[in-house]
Subunit: 135 residues, 4 copies
């Protein structure tokens, strides 16, 4: 995946407006986190006791949607200026990742899929914040 | 569509945490704007002279993705508290709608699909801001 | 919503390749069903006894994703020929709607949101099949 | 990304109903192809002469949407049976990848981003067909 992201950024016909490495890392982190959250929602739904995991499932679904949209917006903004929008999207995505990561971390000891997902959320929140700091 | 949104909000098993009318209007406006923007991107791609419409197509694609995600997040947050996330998502969506609406409005006289889309964007930006003001 | 869909189809710069009314109805049905399913998944997650609703939540999430993608593909194919793809997408969407509608219908007496959602699913499955029959 | 997909499949609380390696490869291929197609649409929009790339942009957008939805449906179906739906979704995704891959390949010599994207499309079509053959 990262290789494909790099190849696509490198072959883009116009100048990239952002730090290339931070942009690529943020797109990769969003794609990974979207996948982890979709998977964690499904795993939570499959647990014997789903009742205490409702909040986690909602946070997973929100985070998956936000990360997927953020990866798309970032990809389109490589060369085109809308820093106000990009900043707001990154802030919303970082918050979704933080909320979902905290929720997952709170039962990471009981559910290993939540532990894996919490890691993906934390990496994605950090990648969004690092890129946001350069805008 | 609005009837279905109302019926689903009315039959939700727990208390709705937001102003019901503003919530329903915002979900409906997001769904309508997502559809208008997907359609406007396609219509722009079909114009004889697509060159001056590149920026509009990008704004359409961003706005369609943001509106679709916002409709989902709003629907999930009817009964569950994450006001910080909801506020950031509404702010990002309103900005995408404003940017896309301005772009579409700038060639509304030449392309009627941009005129229709600009209207949907403006209504959606306003609906997001009205709901945001109550958080 | 339907008004916006009609206005966008009417203002499209090139010829529409499909029956206009069936196309508009199918896009509207997909948008409505995507919204109903996202909402039904949330309502199911909010029920006191979520355990017997796991299968319904998965069917809702699948159906919401399929309907949203189908509305987008239909919108883009108004004027551009890829009947093989359109046929497969409509068939997949109709199946997702049928599976979700059957699941929702099976507990419609107990959960009114499932009854509303089952109706949206049935209308969407039928709209997809009607359009599919003209390809 | 692949590591996260593997970790999530491994930590799923119930039995996986499909060939684990084919499932993981297909999810990874869909995620990669969705990203490549979003990126290729943006790169095409940024080319000096966008006119001959309209068809490619539409194919990219269709393929990105289909691949994203397919990754989600596959992730949810790891443990839950709806083979009829899964088969139709995989067939639709494979067709979108084939159509987009052919289009991209036809100008791969002129645009290196289309060459990279054509590769991602081909790998994803093959991964979908391999999994489809086991249903």
């Amino acid at each position: 995946m990262h290789q494909t992201i790099t190849a696509m950024v490198e072959t883009h016909p116009t100048e990239i407006r952002y730090d290339r490495q931070l942009l690529e890392e943020c797109i990769a982190a969003c794609a990974e986190c979207a996948q982890a959250c979709t998977s964690c929602a499904e795993a939570c739904l499959s647990e014997t006791d789903v009742d205490p995991l409702r909040r986690c499932i909602r946070a997973n679904l929100d985070c998956a949607d936000l990360c997927a949209t953020t990866a798309r917006v970032l990809t389109r903004h490589a060369s085109y200026g809308e820093d106000a929008l990009l900043g707001l999207v990154l802030a919303a995505c970082a918050e979704a990742c933080r909320a979902c990561g905290d929720e997952c971390a709170s039962h990471a000891e009981m559910h290993r899929h939540c532990e894996v997902c919490a890691g993906a959320c934390r990496r994605c929140a950090e990648a969004c914040e690092r890129l946001l700091a350069t805008l």
